[in-house]
């Protein structure tokens, strides 16, 4: 895994000079700063940021990741012609992209938050940063999976966008549909299960619970609070997000190991 560290180091070096990554960090910096100045401050800022984070981070990670992988194809071939194993290369490339993206977001939010926020905001802002970083890792994994399995850049991007659309937009509609059709049945446990299956929803619920806004979700919110508020709930949520990172990563790695370039 020494080779993975070397590829990761040069990946970081390349992307930390990339205007898109710098612009991405700057976007969060300006947005967070503006919300603290004009958005009323406190948990409302975190709640507003949450809505941006849940849409923008998955979208940017999945699109940028897919294009990055597909644009690096010739360079990947050159690296594979060196005495370096495929697992090490894939791991180095993945973290070389996911880390700068997560760092750009984290710094973009953390710097203005430190400047404007008080001690009471440490927990919600930290949760927001952790949730955003995890979403970055999840959707970068999906992007690499798409990059490995689709030779055609447009098809890869299409697949990646479909995953984003289903998890960030369509899934809520599906849950609403289920809730409406089965409204006469006790659905809380089923909805809890469905939430755990979607990383975006999972991040949303975790953030709402941190902001003490679960009450807005009515009885379901109370069920969620009772579940996610316990160590078991936190472990289940954390485990599910981790699975969402690891499973697409491993599927991508499996495809990368077997791929004909």
């Amino acid at each position: 895994m020494k080779a993975a560290g070397k590829v990761l180091g040069y990946g970081l070096s390349n992307l930390l000079r990339n205007w898109w990554v710098l612009g991405y960090g700057l976007l969060f910096f300006l947005l967070t700063d503006a919300l603290f100045r004009f958005g009323g401050g406190g948990p409302r800022v975190v709640a507003s940021l949450m809505n941006v984070v849940l849409i923008v981070i998955p979208l940017v990670s999945v699109v940028f990741g897919t294009l990055y992988f597909s644009n690096s194809r010739e360079f990947i071939e050159l690296l594979l012609a060196q005495p370096v194993g495929r697992p090490a290369l894939f791991t180095g490339l993945y973290f070389g992209l996911a880390l700068p993206l997560a760092a750009a977001f984290a710094l973009g939010v953390a710097i203005p938050a430190v400047g404007h926020g008080g001690a009471d905001l440490v927990r919600p802002v930290a949760t927001l940063i952790i949730a955003g970083a995890l979403l970055t890792f999840v959707f970068t994994s999906v992007a690499f999976l798409a990059g490995v399995h689709f030779e055609d850049r447009a098809k890869g991007l299409g697949f990646a966008l479909l995953v984003w659309f289903c998890s960030a937009v369509l899934y809520d509609g599906l849950i609403l549909f289920v809730a409406m059709v089965f409204r006469d049945y006790p659905l809380e446990s089923a909805l809890l299960g469905l939430t755990v299956l979607n990383p975006v929803d999972l991040a949303r619920v975790l953030l709402l619970l941190t902001l003490d806004a679960a009450a807005l979700m009515g009885y379901t919110g109370a069920v969620f609070e009772r579940f996610f508020g316990t160590p078991l709930g936190i472990a289940a949520a954390g485990g599910a997000l981790l699975l969402w990172t690891v499973v697409p990563f491993l599927l991508g790695l499996r495809g990368f190991n077997r791929k004909d370039f």
Partner: protein, 239 residues
């Protein structure tokens, strides 16, 4: 002593397309072997199989006696120059060389000489790759292939995009490497280049070897003095 490269019974199929059908070939030390053929003949697939980028369906490849497989160790013997060189945009030329050097390990004894021969100055190599011309990237790629003194050198259309002077310097470097015992596998559509560099020629069509031998044997077989005419004659015969 093991031959630098031995390919035996190599087969590869992509879906319904048979890319390679039982390729046998051996590269000897100090010999330049040109692999030529029409488009989609299987030249790139053959090179990619040797590099481990494509997994063959059957057959075997050995580089200096080490079987080509999941263990990437054998690639330390190989220098590879692809047809088109793409590197991470924001890294400088020096950083690209450092990354490839780090991954490869060991000495790069000819680094300074190569930079000088190919006209890559310290100033050029300090610039981000995105600002370098296609020809300069190709020179960078040539340095990467040659700097570790490989025992097998694989050159895929090496002079494409190079100016005549650099092209001539690169060919001279290839000749020097061959004279010092490196086995060279060359693909090119420029038959004058093949005539200038190669000792032997393998002619592929539809994934099959249709001719394998020295350039003199090729001339004798086709009755043509120039390699370009001889290969054209082979193409006509196969068609």
């Amino acid at each position: 002593m093991n031959a630098p490269l031995v390919v035996s019974g190599l087969r590869k199929q992509f879906g319904k397309l048979r890319a390679l059908e039982g390729i046998d070939m051996t590269l000897d030390a100090g010999q330049v072997t040109a692999v030529v053929g029409p488009n989609a003949a299987g030249k790139s697939t053959l090179i990619k199989c040797v590099l481990g980028l494509v997994r063959p369906d059957a057959g075997s490849i050995a580089v200096l006696g080490e079987a080509v497989g999941a263990d990437p160790h054998y690639r330390r013997f190989i220098g590879y120059m692809p047809q088109s060189a793409r590197f991470p945009d924001n890294l400088t030329g020096d950083e690209v060389l450092a990354l490839l050097g780090d991954l490869r390990g060991g000495e790069a004894p000819h680094d300074g000489t190569l930079r000088a021969s190919l006209g890559l100055t310290a100033e050029t190599l300090a610039r981000p790759v995105r600002t370098l011309s296609g020809g300069t990237r190709q020179k960078l790629s040539a340095i990467i292939a040659l700097r570790h003194d490989p025992q097998v050198l694989i050159l895929d259309e090496p002079t494409a995009g190079l100016d005549p002077l650099t092209s001539s310097h690169l060919k001279e470097l290839v000749r020097q490497r061959a004279a010092s015992g490196t086995a060279v596998l060359l693909t090119s559509h420029v038959m004058a280049e093949v005539e200038e560099l190669a000792d032997a020629l393998v002619y592929l069509v539809d994934g099959r070897v249709r001719f394998r031998g020295s350039l003199d044997e090729l001339r004798l077989k086709t009755g043509q003095r120039r390699v370009e005419h001889a290969v054209a004659q082979l193409m006509r015969e196969v068609a």
